[in-house]
């Protein structure tokens, strides 16, 4: 599913050059659940952004579902992303001015799916996340756990093959955190490939494999207990 080789990402400001990723290589097969761990500033989020086609690597190759996507232009990246990758963030990143239904609907709007079909799929995703009764509410009227369930609904509404999660439980209490992790595991068993960045050993234990990053390099890869 994912194959990256010798990925480097260098950020340059006027004076400083920061190496965020320094020759990272690994593979994720279809249906796998990978956790990326490491201390703050080790390059986890940079890696996730590149995997999510939000950013290009400085050098190295990135092969997604058999296609080289590491150095696409922005518009091509947008096209490659649509319907193929779902995102879940630590701070949920819902749009404040839109209600729950509209937030979840957004990816489908950009895929130019017709209205009736959108309605069907959004309702299905909300039902799946057990949040249907909140469809007309706005994000600031929901608890953190509920907001994250909406965000997950938004991530899966387009049936993507790959789900990228950036510390999905970081802003949640342990109960809500467990709920979210259980949901992600279920999605994985149903066939979704998941790459998750986390600080939490507990969350990582839901994955098949843990990649440890330190200063932009992979230090260990271990099979998780599952």
């Amino acid at each position: 599913m994912i194959k990256i080789e010798n990925l480097r990402k260098v950020f340059r400001t006027e004076e400083v050059e920061t190496v965020a990723l320094n020759g990272v290589s690994f593979e994720v097969t279809e249906g796998e659940f990978i956790a990326v761990m490491g201390p703050s500033g080790c390059g986890k989020s940079t890696l996730l952004n590149i995997l999510g086609l939000l950013d290009n690597p400085t050098s190295g190759t990135y092969c997604l579902a058999g296609n080289e996507v590491g150095h696409l232009k922005e518009s091509a990246r947008t096209q490659a992303r649509k319907g193929n990758i779902g995102f879940v963030f630590q701070s949920f990143n819902l749009i404040e001015e839109m209600n729950v239904f509209e937030n979840v609907e957004l990816p489908l709007v950009y895929m130019r799916i017709n209205k009736a079909e959108r309605k069907r799929r959004v309702e299905e995703a909300l039902y799946r996340m057990n949040i249907s009764h909140r469809a007309k509410h706005f994000p600031n009227q929901l608890s953190g756990g509920q907001q994250q369930r909406v965000a997950i609904a938004r991530a899966i509404v387009a049936n993507p093959k790959l789900i990228l999660a950036d510390e999905p439980t970081g802003n949640l209490d342990s109960k809500n955190g467990n709920d979210v992790m259980t949901l992600l595991s279920e999605l994985n068993t149903e066939g979704a490939t998941i790459v998750m960045v986390t600080h939490s050993q507990h969350d990582a234990s839901y994955s098949h494999r843990i990649v440890n990053l330190f200063d932009g390099e992979i230090v260990t890869e271990v099979q998780s207990r599952m």
Binding site: E74, T78, F89, S91, E96, L106, Y110, R154
Partner: protein, 776 residues
């Protein structure tokens, strides 16, 4: 001190927006000051005169019209009233006359100056601030008063008192020098000469004098009118006066604004125009204040975290509010200070020429102080709402997560932008129509030749050798024909009015006496009857050619007579006055030998089509110089003379045009600033949308849609408003450009285009940013 630090911080952090907003404010304040200067100039017209609120001009009312001039015996009756503290008559026709000044017994110089004939009591009504000599000099028949500026022009640094000048063929001694009246005075800086005590003393038929009185109190007017009605002899009332002998007293300070009085040649302005100027001043101020308010409100989402952090750390709400308000006041005062610099710098540019008033800050300190006060007020008001708003949240709520304007806050802001757009649209539409009207006046058909004609005035010397003069002119190949006339066609609203009896009916018409060749020179064709012939002036009585208006209204018949003068032809209704008035009954008249008033003062010289106008003009000038060397003739192209009539309007239109453009610029600046803020604030949303698969153009549509909607709504509101104001303004002209629908549409599209350009370029920057920068 802390406020000042905050202030500098805001300037630094929101550099572009701060600069744009302060620039907008300072330009708005500068325009406000400048407009106040002009308004003050007009509103204080004639208030320079001592006791101006007790001084009145007396006018005759009757037969549906008012006259600014009275016969001399009428004034004598008025002056007998015990309520008249002082009274004097003054010759009404403000004409420049040539004045000969002889220096060192040989060096003769001719100047053109205004000469006014007054009664010796005139200085008792209008106070003269005498610098040298005495205003009592007017008691002596050959003494005159001159202003300081005239004295300096004639004699340089020497004292003028006692020196001699030659006016109207007679030697006069300068008896005194008065301090010049300011430019906003109906009494001009002239050479004042005493009128003979016997001139027209008992002539009720000669309406030739303006009458000024100084009353002891305003309430006395009615009593004086009643006394006058009782005193005026019955037969005179019927024969000369008309009506019931009624009078009107116009306060000196109102003279500048009256325009319904005939034979009133004092400079005019209209209160409506001043209101338009003031409205623009306030519109610009409002636009700038709205910009500033939106600017402060736009900072709220960005500043609220720091404000709340301060709250959490123990700052009181009151001190935070005070800080924000003083910051806003400081910004406004900075704008005001820059405005003063702008006005100071503009003083020496052509913009200053657009004003009648002197663009001097020190001379208008009251207006400057008022504007300063307004700047303070705008600062307080625009600081108040954001300060209350930003401190009204629970700090805990705001420290977590992001924060945006509430829907209500957004609606207020959009409504404020709407006000700016409406104002800009109305201004653009109005400026377009003003421009079109000015062009229309230049091109509208007048019914006679105006492009191939050169005009000049005549001196007495040349008038006495007219035929030689004409021969000399015609000897030049490019000059086709020459004709003399008493007045300049198309440059006044009113010409000489004659009332006569025609077949037992009283008829009124305006008369322009001309030489027989005049109609040929001016390409005016006769529709019925015949044109004037050279031998018409050899007959005993004069000949008329009337316009169609008179023909129809008075049922005039060809070859019939009015008194002894024959009607020999009719012509179309040419635009013989300015475009302010519609053609009324009028006639060209050629004097016969029985002639009581031939004062041909203007020469019309027709240049052959295709020949060089400038060469012809040069020939005219050299001919004049040969026949009367030293006389300052005013040789002009006729088309320029026609244009100069509308000079005040054109200057005003330019002024309004310039200010409107600035108003539009300021509101564009406002939108620019807002879009910058909005894109900055919505960066996160844009990023999320992009992550969810939105393309750049879909992000752009999001922004463009909102502004298209606002402009659309504003257009619908602005069109009827602009229509109303413009049709009102165009009512000032008898001849006016139609209110084309496409001007409205184009103005709307113009504003839309500008807004879209700004929104697109600014939001494009945000839309193409890497989405990972804004979210975490």
């Amino acid at each position: 001190m802390k406020t000042f630090k905050n202030f500098l911080f805001v300037l630094e952090r929101f550099k572009t927006s701060s600069i744009l907003n302060i620039a907008g404010l300072s330009i708005a304040f500068a325009i406000f000051i400048i407009i106040l200067m002009q308004v003050d100039y007009d509103l204080s017209f004639d208030k320079c005169h001592k006791d101006y609120d007790h001084i009145y001009r007396v006018e005759r009312v009757g037969d549906g019209s008012k006259l600014a001039i009275l016969p001399r015996p009428a004034a004598e009756i008025l002056f007998q009233s015990p309520h008249v503290v002082a009274g004097a008559i003054i010759g009404p026709f403000y004409m420049e006359s040539s004045v000969t000044v002889t220096k060192n017994d040989t060096d003769e110089q001719i100047y053109k100056e205004m000469v006014l004939m007054v009664e010796p009591s005139f200085p008792k009504v209008i106070h003269f601030d005498m610098l040298e000599g005495s205003d009592a000099a007017l008691e002596e028949p050959d003494k005159v008063l001159i202003s300081r500026r005239i004295g300096q022009k004639f004699f340089g640094t020497e004292s003028p008192v006692g020196k001699q000048i030659e006016v109207w063929g007679g030697a006069r001694t300068i008896g005194g020098v008065y301090k010049d009246f300011p430019p906003n005075s109906s009494i001009s800086n002239a050479i004042f000469m005493a009128m003979s005590p016997d001139e027209n003393k008992n002539n009720w038929g000669n309406f030739s004098f303006c009458v000024f009185v100084h009353l002891d109190h305003a309430g006395a007017k009615q009593e004086i009118i009643e006394q006058f009605k009782a005193a005026i002899p019955e037969d005179i009332l019927n024969k000369y006066w008309g009506g019931d002998g009624s009078l009107q007293f116009t306060p000196l300070a109102d003279l500048h604004f009256t325009n319904d009085i005939m034979y009133d040649s004092t400079p005019k302005s209209s209160r409506a125009t001043l209101m338009v100027l003031l409205a623009i001043a306030f519109a610009i101020l409002a636009i700038a204040a709205i910009n500033f308010n939106n600017f402060s409100m736009a900072q709220v989402p960005i500043r609220i975290r720091s404000i709340n952090t301060q709250k959490v750390l123990g700052a009181s709400t009151g001190s935070l509010r005070a800080g924000m308000i003083s910051e806003s006041v400081l910004m406004n005062l900075l704008g005001f200070a820059l405005a003063l610099i702008i006005v100071f710098l503009l003083k020496s540019t052509p913009v200053a020429d657009l004003l009648d008033a002197k663009m001097s800050l020190s001379a208008h300190w009251k207006e400057v102080a008022l504007t300063g006060g307004i700047a303070l007020l705008v600062g307080l008001l625009t600081g108040l709402y954001p300060a209350l708003y930003i401190t009204s949240f629970q700090p805990a709520l705001v420290l977590n997560g992001s924060f945006g304007l509430t829907p209500k806050g957004k609606n207020i802001r959009n409504a404020l932008i709407g006000v700016q757009f409406v104002a800009s649209l109305v201004l653009i539409i109005s400026v377009s129509f003003m421009y079109m009207q000015n062009n229309y006046l230049k091109q509208a058909p007048v019914g006679y030749e105006r492009d191939q004609v050169i005009i000049t005035d005549l001196s007495n010397k040349i008038n006495s050798q007219r035929d030689v003069f004409k021969q000399e002119l015609k000897s030049f190949a490019g000059i086709e024909d020459v004709a003399l006339s008493e007045s300049l066609l198309g440059t006044a609203d009113q010409y000489m009015g004659w009332g006569r009896t025609y077949r037992d009916k009283d008829i009124q018409y305006q008369v322009l006496p001309v030489e027989p060749a005049f109609l040929k020179v001016m390409n005016i064709s006769v529709t019925e009857g015949r044109d004037f012939r050279e031998d018409d002036k050899d007959g005993r009585f004069g000949k008329y050619i009337f316009n169609e208006k008179a023909h129809k209204a008075y049922e005039l018949e060809l070859n019939s007579h009015i008194d002894t003068s024959e009607i020999i032809g009719f012509m179309p209704d040419i635009q013989f006055t300015t475009f302010h008035t519609e053609p009324t009954p009028m006639a060209f008249f050629v004097w016969g030998t029985d002639n009581w008033g031939d004062k041909m003062r203007h020469v019309y010289i027709k240049v052959t089509a295709g020949s060089n106008m400038f060469a012809a003009m040069q020939h005219v000038k050299s001919t004049l110089n040969k026949l009367d060397p030293g006389y300052p003739f005013n040789v002009r192209f006729y088309s320029e003379a026609l244009q100069s009539v509308y000079e005040k309007e054109q200057r005003l239109s330019s002024l309004i045009g310039v200010f409107s453009l600035i108003a539009i610029l300021i509101s564009v600046i406002g939108v620019f600033g807002l879009v910058i803020f909005e894109t900055q604030y919505r960066r996160r949303e844009i990023s999320i949308r992009k992550i969810m698969g939105s393309s750049v153009s879909e992000v752009l549509q999001l922004f463009i849609g909102t502004y298209c909607f606002i402009v659309g709504v504003c257009f619908v509101i602005a069109v009827p408003v602009a229509y109303y104001f413009n049709s009102k303004w165009l009512d000032n002209f008898a001849c006016k450009t139609p209110l084309h629908w496409w001007v409205f549409l184009l103005s709307g599209l113009f504003v839309l285009a500008i807004i879209l350009m700004i929104v697109t370029t600014q939001s494009y920057k945000a839309a193409t940013k890497n989405p990972t920068e804004a979210i975490h």
